[in-house]
């Protein structure tokens, strides 16, 4: 990218051509299908073509400059940074699991939808512009400089690693799962191929390469998510803008749930890893504990959003403080496009399965007929779906149909009878979502280790070349560790994703927010906040999940951040007030962060 300035000026044109090219590629695949290409071959084409493009962008963005490697040269315009953040943010869980979670879980599950969008209000109002003004390379860089001392910096690195590593393992797992399904290779091998593809995007160009591949990945994932929904909706007569029209479908579902006795008929025998539908779609419990569980999950996901370093560091890449703030609004808009579609998708897919007046329905039909459907055969073969005629009447009832929620997004095109190339498109979208998040997370971890631990604490005299080589070696090492853990298949996708948010908020939320908004906050307080928050949060998770302790007030392992963050806040405030205020220089620095005008704080101190 020798003509860098030109590249930035031409961004709309470059990505406009890229989007057009991708649409042409989709059309080509549709044509190939009509000429008799197999669904498997189409899937392989989709995945290899898109990964090749990402790798090409990664190669073109290679760099040996520190600024480009850590913060993409601080030249990413707000709209494009918004798209990159969208891809960075929306993981395999958002793309693959969210609609399925709503399908199976109904209203309580929507806490994720609210939490994973509203968190950006906190990011924009409390954090992003101030961290951008600060001018740091990493989140621990802010903590380390604002509070001073290696201990604060080290604790921030520790929280970052605990939160991000649980998260990245899930993303490598998701990337590997999709690669295994499409390329038809063993999962244990697919995980390492996935890592190779992920590293191709990040290794040579750091943040610069990740930024421009993430923009490309956002475009693929949003097209892959929206096209099937619009197509299905038009084909089934649900309207041409289903997101604004599915109210009637929700009302219809409520009637069908009574007819099919959803929630009345329970499964006779449990099926491992699969579940039958027992929750009504739109009913919200009037039990205060249910309301409490909803709002606590929302709070955890929002405060986690505002503490996750791989998200915050995206706002270090804009040219100005103003652009950082604008960029948060764009990020949320791009994320919103997927998140307000997920409940529509869940509703319409469920309607197709339950509504006897639709040709696609299966509940209430003869089990022999249902077992002959292509999509039922396909997903039964891999163990993601199971039909058990527990009352032996030959008719499929709601409590006799078991499946994994994860398959809703992947199976919807097949349920609705869309062409096979749409499934290839969806696989490419899921892969883009998982890869882009994995890239952001790996880079956040490796950068914290190379910049904060190695350069700032171990070898401050290291030259540029050495720093960037160390950064890359760490990237490979952490990626390999993540793949090794992923290949063990320890956790389901969503469990560990929610935990990442809880860990991040337990350790980092208050030290970050109060670092900007409370001038009196000092080093001892911040260290106590991080250490106590992380320790108490981890202890509570352990006790509730494995230690046999009954959750307090329904605060289970998905919500342990509530306990951790509360402990962190108390520890930070109490210890700060018991110790001396920060020196005048630090207080002046906080004043400086609060004003957009002028050079960044770190630039002035150099």
């Amino acid at each position: 990218m020798a003509m860098k300035g030109t590249f930035i000026d031409n961004l709309p044109k470059v990505y406009g051509m890229y989007t057009g090219g991708f649409l042409v590629f989709i059309a080509l695949m549709a044509f190939a299908e009509s000429m008799g290409m197999s669904a498997e071959a189409i899937g392989i084409w989709f995945v290899t073509f898109t990964v090749f493009i990402y790798a090409y962008i990664g190669w073109m963005s290679r760099t040996m400059q520190v600024d480009a490697y850590y913060v993409a040269g601080r030249e990413v315009p707000p709209v494009f940074n918004g798209m990159a953040t969208g891809a960075d943010w929306m993981s395999g869980a958002s793309f693959v699991a969210m609609a399925g979670g709503i399908y199976m879980g109904g209203h309580p599950y929507l806490a994720f939808v609210v939490g994973w969008t509203g968190g950006y209000v906190l990011v924009a109002v409390l954090m992003a512009p101030y961290l951008r003004k600060f001018g740091c390379y990493t989140v621990p860089d802010f903590i380390g400089t604002r509070y001073g001392g290696n201990l604060a910096r080290f604790l921030a690195v520790l929280v970052l690693i605990v939160a991000s590593f649980t998260y990245v393992t899930a993303q490598i797992n998701a990337t590997g799962t999709i690669a295994a399904a499409v390329l038809q290779i063993p999962f244990e091998l697919a995980v390492w191929i996935a890592l190779g593809a992920i590293l191709l995007c990040a290794m040579l160009g750091g943040m610069r390469a990740v930024t421009w591949t993430q923009v490309a990945q956002y475009i693929v994932l949003i097209i892959a998510y929206l096209v099937p929904v619009f197509w299905m909706s038009m084909k089934q007569g649900f309207g041409s803008f289903p997101q604004f029209e599915y109210g009637a479908a929700v009302a219809k579902l409520a009637e069908l749930e009574v007819m099919h006795q959803v929630g009345v008929l329970k499964p006779v025998a449990a099926q491992a890893g699969l579940s039958a539908l027992t929750v009504k779609h739109s009913v919200a419990s009037s039990d205060p504990i249910a309301a409490f569980r909803f709002v606590t999950l929302v709070a955890c996901m929002m405060m986690g959003t505002a503490s996750l370093p791989h998200i915050l560091m995206r706002y270090f890449t804009t040219p100005s403080v103003r652009d950082a703030r604008r960029s948060v609004a764009w990020s949320l808009l791009f994320i919103f496009l997927l998140y307000f579609t997920a409940p529509a998708l869940a509703t319409l897919t469920k309607l197709q399965v339950l509504d006897p007046s639709l040709a696609t329905s299966i509940i209430g039909k003869s089990i022999a007929d249902v077992n002959a459907l292509d999509w039922v055969v396909k997903w039964s073969n891999v163990g993601f779906l199971k039909i058990v005629d527990s009352n032996g009447d030959g008719i499929l009832q709601i409590n006799e149909f078991f499946m994994r929620g994860d398959i809703v997004v992947l199976a919807t095109p097949e349920i609705a009878g869309l062409p096979a190339f749409i499934s290839g498109l969806v696989a490419a979208g899921g892969l883009a979502a998982a890869m882009s998040t994995a890239d952001g997370l790996l880079l956040a971890i490796a950068n914290a280790l190379s910049h904060d631990l190695y350069y700032k604490m171990i070898d401050p005299k290291a030259d540029t070349k050495k720093r960037l080589i160390v950064a890359r070696v760490l990237l490979i090492g952490i990626g390999a560790a993540g793949s090794a853990v992923a290949s063990l298949r320890l956790t389901g996708i969503l469990g560990s994703v929610a935990w990442a948010f809880d860990f991040a908020m337990s350790g980092l939320f208050f030290p970050l927010v109060l670092g900007v908004w409370w001038k009196r906050a000092n080093r001892a307080g911040a260290c106590a906040g991080m250490a106590v928050g992380l320790a108490v949060g981890s202890w509570y998770l352990y006790m509730v999940k494995w230690g046999g302790m009954a959750p307090w007030w329904g605060i289970d392992d998905l919500r342990f951040g509530i306990i951790g963050a509360l402990a962190s806040l108390i520890a930070m405030v109490v210890v700060t007030l018991m110790t001396a205020p920060p020196d005048a220089e630090t207080q002046a620095m906080v004043d400086e962060i609060r004003v957009p005008k002028g050079k960044s704080v770190l630039d002035m101190s150099h």
Partner: protein
């Protein structure tokens, strides 16, 4: 120097005001509305039970619109207090 400082004080004062305003709106649509989801579900909104609608779409739209308005407002404050970037 003193006029610059008072400008900065004024800027921070107004910035805090905006923060409190937007976090109040955020609080209502993140927590209060969903606390009453089962009551709101008694009301039908274009076919949706309102409590479900707010969690699936309503709150999200509020957050998006709110952030674009916040950006405009904060930029105005920065400009008027003379601390905006060039």
């Amino acid at each position: 120097m003193s006029s610059g400082d008072s400008q900065k004080d004024n800027h921070w004062h107004r910035t805090k005001g905006l923060m409190i305003l937007h976090l109040s709106i955020w609080f209502i649509f993140s927590f209060v509305v969903h606390w009453f989801a089962s009551n709101l579900n008694q009301i039908t909104f274009f076919g949706w039970p309102l409590g479900f609608y707010m969690a699936a779409q309503g709150s999200l739209i509020v957050f998006v619109v709110q952030l674009f308005i916040f950006v405009k407002q904060q930029e105005k404050v920065d400009r008027e207090c003379g601390v905006a970037e060039d």
